[in-house]
Symmetry: C2
Subunit: 579 residues, 2 copies
Amino acid sequence: MVQLLQRNSCNCILLGFCLLFCLVKFPAVDAKIRHYKWEVKYEYKSPDCFKKLVITINGRTPGPTILAQQGDTVVVELKNSLLTENVAIHWHGIRQIGSPWSDGTEGVTQCPIVPGDTFKYEFVVDRPGTYLYHAHYGMQREAGLYGSIRVALPEGKSEPFFYDYDRSIILNDWYHRSTYEQAVGLSSTPFVWVGEPQSLLIQGKGRFDCATPSLEPGVCNATSPECSPYAVTVVPGKTYRLRISSLTALSALSFQIEGHNMTVVEADGHYVEPFVVKNLFIYSGETYSVIIKANQDPSRNYWMTTNVVSRNATASAPPGLAFLNYYPNHPRRSPPTVPPAGPAWNDVKARLNQSLAIKAHRDFIHTPPQLPDRVMVFLNTQNQIDGKRRWSVNNVSYNLPHTPYLIALKQNLTDAFDQTPPPEGYDFVNYDIYKVQNNTNATSSDGIYRLQFNTTVDIILQNANTMTANNSETHPWHLHGHDFWVLGYGEGKFDMLNDPKKYNLVNPIMKNTVPVHTMGWTALRFRADNPGVWAFHCHIESHFYMGMGVVFAEGIDKVGNLPSSIMGCGETKGVAHRP
Amino acid sequence: MVQLLQRNSCNCILLGFCLLFCLVKFPAVDAKIRHYKWEVKYEYKSPDCFKKLVITINGRTPGPTILAQQGDTVVVELKNSLLTENVAIHWHGIRQIGSPWSDGTEGVTQCPIVPGDTFKYEFVVDRPGTYLYHAHYGMQREAGLYGSIRVALPEGKSEPFFYDYDRSIILNDWYHRSTYEQAVGLSSTPFVWVGEPQSLLIQGKGRFDCATPSLEPGVCNATSPECSPYAVTVVPGKTYRLRISSLTALSALSFQIEGHNMTVVEADGHYVEPFVVKNLFIYSGETYSVIIKANQDPSRNYWMTTNVVSRNATASAPPGLAFLNYYPNHPRRSPPTVPPAGPAWNDVKARLNQSLAIKAHRDFIHTPPQLPDRVMVFLNTQNQIDGKRRWSVNNVSYNLPHTPYLIALKQNLTDAFDQTPPPEGYDFVNYDIYKVQNNTNATSSDGIYRLQFNTTVDIILQNANTMTANNSETHPWHLHGHDFWVLGYGEGKFDMLNDPKKYNLVNPIMKNTVPVHTMGWTALRFRADNPGVWAFHCHIESHFYMGMGVVFAEGIDKVGNLPSSIMGCGETKGVAHRP
């Protein structure tokens, strides 16, 4: 029946999906090496009806989905066919155990891949779940260079929830200016902010209003098939796992499906003790799986919508719209209803509640170490440095170096970066997180934290007021190379004495990305057990560009021989050797 | 008096000029090493009132003028501060004798300079004259990365013409789309042509009509000081040497000064037997010096204008306008007249006549070898290859490799490029240059011509009809690493038997850039006496990008040790060594 349906619906609209399904899924079952050949280049596309240059992989944005099974080795041979621009791709949520040089973080684990070169990423996907990949160089992710990684369980093992089929949906926000234009604005005096996005994309499709005044003729085409709403086709009565992820440049989102509750079952590759939501809050860099049942009136389609929360973007960024398409309705048939409005953008409480609701599934609890070896508190502030607006951690704004740390540390190139580590805390007693501070004594640095191998590290991310009165932003922090336990969230200033007593040490979820809510704090714990150098940063593209990140190094003596392919820039120009 | 004038006029408008004059010219007289530190980055600028991202050097476009004396060593430490984009700079007209790795031609003599890296260009300026520098990577030159090189005679020597002062003027055409957008269009199926420029710039200043419909609000500002007309201030009665050069992306130009004749005295660094013109035709990559006398009514200013010739661009690209400012008139005071119209765009004869008029100055004749050792005929055609519009030489469209030839040849990396040389001629007998040919059997290649060291090589550049009926384009061909003798120009198909008899072997001018006129031919001769690898290509940015070029290698065994700084890409990633 489903096979038949798929054959029937394999028309132009669904051709891409069918190809994916037919060509990739079936032969992939037993293979242990998943080999991909990708070509990255600029092309004109109209994801939201507005034509602009995007970066594609094999002609597509989002790029091809990587499908693998736990324990497989994924090999991606990435050919850079951009004209004059380099590239690097990060495998978001993959810990890169034993392959820290494949993390794809320019300046941290590799030199950028220059045009004409082919770089081989090779890594093991050691855990089942929903992951992502995306550019990790400049602000290139925003140009459309991203996609999904889906790691299945080994044969014979099953998940702690039931579904008939699964589908991947990446949410994104979309800007019409090039990443270059945005980055130059952020580096300019006076500072030019990137602003709110022009549209929200659901699996690469959005809708900008082509009637907007002052558009160049021909640049916007409301009837372009590229921007027809994305449709998830479901068979009435069946159960679906939707793997929902966000790679927004800026926006925190809410996602909802008209008339359908969602049961959250997975977060960042870890099973969640199931809970039901009407709105799924999701922050850039997070992945969730939700279970839905196609149990509504099958004579029509339903809206899937996403909207910005935490920032007041209602005026500028209209909600993203897609269809939950009940077979056999036409996948482009608009639902007869008004799209459901998402929650109020400034309802912090609802978002905090969702964060608090996410616990490890009762049968999949990884009990955290009960005590840390080291505790760091990271105060997140806006600062003014050399006349430029920046973000800082403990008053230090982060700059990427041009000799990757991994090589510098392994080869003892001590002049490649600032050898002074940034501070591990701030003036807890006197700093008023609610006040607009000048933060004029901030500095910038490419110094890093060196972690003793196999120790337990606690990080408390402390939010504060920005340089605007009564304003605090949500920051999704993402850790490379590890999952961490989420020990707790709180409002206001973290209390070093009492808040640790409230940590969840029983069934905390493990994640790789976690929000720090406005004017609040988030506490997390991880084991420094993965030899390599790992970025930890706000996943908002412009915030990291503006310095909101840190870097951890651990077990460098245990890192194997570095491949020469990661070299060629900065001080590594002269130290490469033929493989 | 002149000192006084300069102090008086050193207001905001002329501040840049004054700084140049005061800070650079005076201390430069005796130094033998000219050291420059440049930072290359993207900035928003409005050269023609329309705001867009441009590539600047130390905040400027055109970049700083390099001022040196014959025999000096120029050192430019170039820091790449572009976000994700590489760079390479070519020193146009400098032969790079003994320093072929400093020619700055990405893919030929060096790997591109990655962001964050500082590359040291070091070369001797061995001849006095007017030269240029510009990006030689992708289509980056068009983004504004260019400037002048002015090499003075040694103390005590003088030129064969008199002038009181000299001034540099670079002409350019200007596009509002980014080089990325243009390049992607050229590589697309269907092919998207870059079109005519939006404006013409005189020394970096032009004027786009801000009343053009459908402009984004704020993007065009007709009152921006950045696009006020460039003014050359002259003192009545004095004599001026104007060093006029063109770095257009596409356009052939005519340049004229209302009410003033120009005496041509230098071309591409060689003294010309003086002749007088009203309109100076100039092609991309050429430099000329003309002498003018400030001998007109001093109560007013005069127009300097430039307009497109050889292409019918009148509708799209308005003439470029600047002022010849007679002191003490205000430099922004508009002349009371209508700007002089240039010659008709399609007057081929006038352009051919100027080409024929340029001979070596009688006291500075370098007599060419009277016979060549090798003769190559390069038929220039448009072709269709893999569904894409390309340009070809003898039916082979040129592709740059990703391992620079200089390194590949020196280190014998034979798989780095096609070892089969392209053909040295075409089917002279049967090919009808006037006919629209399909040219469907063209191929593309990165193969090169290997020249025996110290031999004499003749090149006949043969133009033809394009793929459009009754259409032939003007191509300015530029040779790296050498000057060549211009032996002759002709109309129609070159006659191998009779045309060589008409060569000027008595007083041919030496140049590095020469036009091939529509439906005509140009013959040139050079000595393969400079160890290295040298590009020879159409200087139209899009034409070279579309394959209109070749590469010569000579005396590779005489090339010294390559600096590791030029490596890091393609096959040279693994062979770099610490300096």
